[in-house]
């Protein structure tokens, strides 16, 4: 009932695990995959990378702030880990790099991937992520190179803190199969007792409920501007949030920070979506972007 196609990916549900959450090891990816349409891994780079010192994640009443620092075992180790993935969902490998050729080289390590997400939006690492993803020409070149070497779908993940329409259009011209929006937004927290910033990196990326309205607007805009599908990411916590993103134009919705509340969040949202579609006697495909038709 929840089956949906995102580009050439035939997914059993629109629910997708967002990158950076429970995505470092196959056992958790496989477990989340049980009730997901796809799972996105933690971003991987060519070389192993330590990441920042703890504290790297803090929970606030409206979501999380993290500055993990793209910690990664490197592509060789990570491809060994992902070869153990046994999940019943599409496996999307998230890549980070600075140069177009490095993205292509990275992708060659992951035969088991059904698609690639390009991390062009991590806000707290100086030589990757958003630094790359703010440059439309560079984004277009990365996507073109990726598409010329592989037939697998490529989904650039963009930030709201850039001219996202321009960047998304460049990615679309480059041949992107869809756009993931949005990544975390820069933010920070200071402990008033110790009078010091909490994260070791001082600032980080804000995710969770607090950024949902911002993500909603980006999804809305991209749906208006693009032909390719939009995958929403940013604060979806309940089934209502998922429906809201779909109405704004998302064909799939990523969920990450909500795992703070429950490991069973995908199961619970999945069941609620089925109930909603039955009650409303409507299909998922009809709902995609429906809010645009009423304005």
């Amino acid at each position: 009932m929840l089956e949906i196609d995102v580009a050439s990916l035939k997914m059993k549900s629109p629910l997708v695990l967002a990158s950076g959450v429970l995505g470092s090891f196959s056992p958790s990816l496989s477990r989340v995959a049980e009730h997901a349409g796809a799972v996105v891994t933690k971003s991987v780079g060519l070389q192993p990378r330590e990441g920042y010192r703890t504290p790297v994640i803090i929970n606030t009443p409206h979501g999380l702030i993290n500055a993990v620092g793209l910690s990664s075992p490197g592509c060789e180790e990570f491809s060994k880990e992902l070869s153990k993935f046994r999940g019943d969902a599409k496996l999307i490998v998230s890549l980070f790099a600075s140069e177009p050729d490095d993205f292509v080289k990275l992708s060659s390590y992951f035969d088991m991937a059904d698609a690639f997400e390009l991390n062009l939006s991590c806000p707290h690492v100086s030589d990757a992520g958003l630094t790359v993803g703010s440059d439309p020409e560079l984004v277009k070149e990365i996507v073109e190179k990726m598409k010329s070497r592989s037939s697998k779908p490529v989904f650039p993940k963009l930030s709201a803190a850039t001219d996202y329409i321009e960047v998304a259009k460049a990615a679309e011209e480059g041949g992107a199969d869809g756009i993931v929006a949005i990544n975390t937004l820069r933010g920070m927290a200071i402990d008033i007792g110790t009078r010091k910033p909490i994260l070791s990196n001082i600032s980080g990326g804000v995710s969770g409920e607090g950024i949902k309205p911002i993500a909603m607007k980006v999804v809305w805009d991209l749906y208006e501007e693009l032909e390719i599908p939009v995958i929403a990411s940013g604060g979806a916590t309940t089934w209502r949030d998922v429906i809201e993103f779909i109405l704004a134009g998302a064909r799939a919705v990523q969920i990450g920070s909500a795992f703070f509340y429950s490991y069973r969040v995908f199961y619970s949202i999945k069941e609620s979506l089925i109930a909603y579609l039955r009650k409303e006697k409507i299909s998922l495909n009809e709902l995609v972007g429906m809010a645009h038709k009423t304005v």
Binding site: G20, V21, L22, G23, S24, F25, P27, S28, S30, R31, V32, K42, R53, T54, P55, V56, I57, I58, N59, T60, P61, L64, N66, V68, A189, D191, I192, G193, T194, R195, K196, I198, S200, G256, S257, F259, F260, Y263
Partner: protein, 251 residues
Amino acid sequence: MSSSEWLIKQYEGDYMFSMRIDKIIRHSDDVSTLFFSSRLRSYPGQFIMLNLPRYEEIPLSLSSPNSVTVRAVGETTYALIRLSAGEIVGIRGPFGKPFTPTDGKALLVAGGIGAAPLYYLHDYLKRRGAEVKVLFGARKAEELVWKDRFSVLMVATDDGSEGLRGTVIDLLKEEELQQYDRIYVCGPEEMLRKAFTHLKEKEVLGKAEFSLERYMKCGIGVCGTCILEDGSRVCAEGPVFSGKDLEGVEF
């Protein structure tokens, strides 16, 4: 009194908060207990993420509602055990699944610094009227930290400097396990595995609980650093797992 004193307070929901260290007990060269300025609403077996400014944030089991008992193993823990009273630390939590209590007969099996959450559990169970016996093992007598916290106790040391010469597993093998309503185990991995094997052989896994330790970054179930083979998160589904949950899981 610093002007920010009034801000250093109790549990504030799900944000990091600060607490003052009121008192420190130096048990040995490398183990201390740090007492906080107020009690945390918590249960035995739960842990906190403790952030020592200028060092790292690390997971630590509560050894009472207002303390952690720490062994120096790295830079942060080394600094922690030498802290002075009055210093301020950041705290998130308590997090994680606690031990399942009993008011019947309980056996606590502690290896080394694995005793930390069991101090808390011991007091908690006694208050509930449980009959509690503790088996405590360490390499040598000095490492049987704070053992007078336990009222009914049998000890073992590798070098025989106190109690039985041998391990806590040797003590466990002497026990008539059927008589206990619950068995709680915490210690180093090798000891946990040996205890698990023995309890499985004796067919008492169903009433056994194990507290596991893993490197953690977030403590709240999102980062995916502390994943077990079956996908469980040590910080959220654990750190306390029932023996049955761990069957077939490499830990």
